[in-house]
């Protein structure tokens, strides 16, 4: 769709400039005359929304960096200084902190939209790969940023994530020390994370330019998943059609954004991050921010540390391969009755994986026990349980438990045998297997066995056909 340029400079200056640096021609061809499929729905406004998010993060971030101090003794206080003493500092910080979450909400919608309508398929493989690259950079940037306030979750989150690199065989330890700049997460770590947190958004901006470039070479996919045949019938000009629609999408998105910033600014964060980092006190429950939870669940689902790390990275890595894993000739799930159902199952699986990531792994979801007895003291209960275990040739630690209850303001200790217990880790394992099954097995398989519904002859027919159908009804 990157047809001939239709730009004609309007006056002497623009003619002069066009011969020297055709930047206005570029803007005109990319954002004014650029033909966009006329059947795009509102899921297609998230590209513009994501650009807005990146812009907001960079602008608020640059101002915040003017007031922030990357030092383990001063970082926490400097963030509170921003909240209290800097003019509108609270506004900047809450926009930036919630902006990260909004950015991820938008990117997940954008990616799932791509998955639903088959936007990753030929000829848009490079476009998709650049997008996954942006997503990876976003996760790294968000992780670096979350460390900066130097709260408990900052510190312990950084410790958990950097320790993952310690799982690499042979070179794990030196790599980890190299990342830390010391023998644990400390001041050198905070300094380099601050530096990288400032750098990465500009890498994202750079890859975004490539992403948009690739988009403008292949042209946008659309809900019907069929290519533009006759631009005069199938497309409309980017401006005003897409511009005004994107602007409306952005305004609605900003309402959600503003709700969090002004009325629930800490709702998406963890209270423990308002406690200053303390290397001597591990929080009871270390959890990453919500947008990393599904991957955290996959990491914890594997009993082996290296295996968990590899599987977690594989969960993102597999996205790079999607264009070649999918064997279906049809792009849009609209015409793929089987894939359409599995798509939604996969969305639900990802959400439940995220839920698993936020829970204690040992939390029992359902199970059955056989009571051994109720005792007044823990020791009595432990003795009874140990005796029962010996008798039945079972392990007192793994097959039995002692629970403490308060009944009528009196403690009682219930010893019982665990007959069956299905915990969060078990659920996460099943869902992890399904996550990979979806991409590695269903993607190639569905294309072969599925009988797609008939495709419309053209985009314009798909729009008019729908219109005609509603008119008749």
């Amino acid at each position: 769709m990157s047809g001939e340029s239709t730009y004609t400079p309007g006056n002497g200056f623009t003619r002069w400039l066009d011969d020297r640096l055709p930047v206005l021609r570029l803007v005109n061809d990319s954002f004014v005359d650029y033909p966009t499929p006329k059947n795009l729905n509102y899921w297609w406004t998230f590209g513009a929304i994501l650009s807005l998010c990146l812009g907001i993060q960079i602008i608020t971030g640059i101002v915040l960096a003017m007031h922030y101090t990357p030092n383990v003794d001063l970082a926490f206080a400097s963030v509170e200084h921003i909240m209290r003493d800097v003019n509108y500092g609270w506004l900047l910080r809450y926009i930036h902190a919630n902006g990260a979450s909004m950015f991820f909400i938008a990117v997940y919608i954008h990616m799932f939209r791509g998955l639903y309508y088959g936007s990753y398929k030929a000829p848009r493989e490079v476009l998709w790969i650049l997008g996954v690259l942006i997503y990876l950079l976003m996760m790294a940037t968000a992780f670096f940023g979350y460390v900066l306030p130097w709260g408990q979750m900052s510190f312990w989150g950084a410790t958990v994530i950097t320790n993952l690199f310690g799982a690499i065989p042979l070179i794990g330890d030196p790599v980890r020390e190299w990342l830390w700049g010391g023998f644990s997460v400390g001041n050198p770590t905070l300094n380099r994370f601050f530096s990288l947190h400032y750098l990465f958004p500009f890498l994202i901006a750079g890859v975004t330019i490539l992403h948009v470039w690739a988009l403008h070479v292949t042209g946008q996919n659309n809900p019907s998943g069929i290519e533009v045949k006759d631009p005069s019938k199938d497309t409309v000009k980017f401006t005003p059609y897409a511009t005004v629609k994107d602007a409306f999408g952005m305004a609605v998105f900003l309402i959600l954004f503003a709700y969090f910033v002004f009325f629930n600014p800490n709702g998406l964060g963890d209270a423990a991050n308002y406690v200053e980092a303390n290397p001597l006190q591990t929080p009871a429950h270390i959890v990453p921010e919500w947008y990393l939870l599904p991957f955290y669940a996959i990491l914890r689902a594997v009993p082996d540390k290296l295996g968990g790390v590899l599987l977690m990275f594989a969960a993102i890595g597999v996205l790079f391969l999607l264009p070649w894993l999918d064997t279906s000739k049809v792009r849009s799930a609209r015409f793929r009755p089987l894939y359409r159902q599995f798509f939604w199952i996969h969305v639900v699986v990802c959400i439940i994986l995220g839920w698993c990531g936020a829970q204690l792994p040992s939390k029992v979801l359902f199970g059955s026990d056989t009571q051994v007895g109720i005792y007044d003291t823990r020791n009595e209960a432990m003795d009874a349980v140990t005796a029962a275990a010996k008798e039945q040739d079972l392990s007192p630690e793994d097959d039995f438990k002692v629970e403490e209850h308060v009944v009528d303001n009196k403690l009682e200790f219930v010893g019982s045998r665990i007959d069956f217990a299905f915990d969060v880790t078990d659920l996460a394992r099943i869902l992890t297997i399904y996550y990979f099954l979806h991409f590695l097995v269903l993607f190639p398989l569905l294309g072969l066995v599925e009988r797609p519904q008939p495709l419309p002859a053209s985009i314009s027919e798909s729009v008019l056909g729908k219109k005609a159908a509603t008119a008749e009804a």
Binding site: W90, L91, F262, F263, E403, H405
Partner: protein
């Protein structure tokens, strides 16, 4: 030194709390803030949700409540806890207890601060509105040596715990006798709202512990609510400004989205 410390604690806490503090001091170091028996599974109680004046999108602080809460904070909490991000001038700022500037100045002058003078010596002077609220101990180590466990700073406490002010109120009113059979380690106190149920802080607040100037009854519940509201303000001093601006931003965005919706319909009307 020890005697000096004792007199100091006695003067700030009064005789009644003295025994409790001493008991805590005897336990000394070694206990984490939450002392938990091995594999105890009892979960912390859910704090009761209070209908705070600052809840909701239009919520504002109740000035009288903040002033009462400040009194509780100053006379009770601040004897052990610091809140080093609170400055005296904040007390006169908009959206807070809104004492007058003169009042904030007088309150600040009740305390002193040491400062380097021109000849390089430390010199004591009365605190000014720009100065932070004084910490009862010079450093956490000193506090831990005196109390067994260093009490946490309260500057952002209302945001640093799940449940925020609801949790603070529940914790302050939640001390009770442990259930029969539950052995409490020395220096720990039973409070089902605290994770693990055993807290190092002795019951800090009692009914009639402060005198309210506005005639509000000084029940434990009232005092706890007031100080929890005050700590919420200390943690989130720009809440009122935030709510006010949020309302304006929402109105603007809804109007903008409405205009853009009709603009989109108009622009697209000739397409389909």
């Amino acid at each position: 030194m020890e005697k000096m410390m004792k007199t100091m604690i006695q003067s700030v806490l009064g005789r009644r709390a003295m025994g409790v503090v001493m008991a805590g001091a005897v336990v000394a170091t070694g206990f984490a803030f939450g002392i938990q028996p091995a594999s105890a599974a009892s979960e912390a109680h859910e704090p009761e949700a209070i209908d705070w004046s600052f809840n909701g999108p239009f919520g504002t602080y109740d000035r009288s409540q903040l002033r009462r809460g400040f009194k509780v904070f100053k006379e009770v909490c601040a004897t052990c806890h610091s809140a080093h991000m609170l400055k005296f001038r904040d007390l006169a700022a908009k959206g807070g207890p809104e004492f007058t500037k003169a009042q904030a100045k007088v309150i600040a002058a009740e305390y002193t601060i040491e400062e380097l003078n021109g000849s390089g010596d430390m010199e004591e002077r009365p605190r000014l509105p720009k100065d932070p609220f004084p910490s009862p101990y010079d450093n956490p180590e000193q506090a831990a040596a005196a109390l067994g466990v260093a009490p946490p700073d309260l500057s952002v406490m209302a945001k640093a715990r799940e449940g925020g002010p609801d949790y603070i109120h529940a914790l302050l009113t939640g001390y009770q006798d442990p259930p029969a059979g539950r052995e409490m380690a020395p220096g720990s106190h039973y409070n089902p709202y605290f994770p693990g149920g055993a807290i190092a802080m002795p019951p800090p607040l009692f009914a009639d512990q402060v005198e309210y100037e506005d005639g509000t009854p000084t029940t434990l519940d009232q005092e706890s609510q007031d100080v929890a509201a005050f700590l919420m303000w200390v943690a989130e001093p720009k809440l009122e400004q935030r709510h006010e601006m949020g309302f304006q931003v929402m109105l603007y965005l809804i109007a903008l989205a409405g205009i853009l919706y009709f603009a989109t319909r108009k622009v697209w009307s000739d397409v389909h």
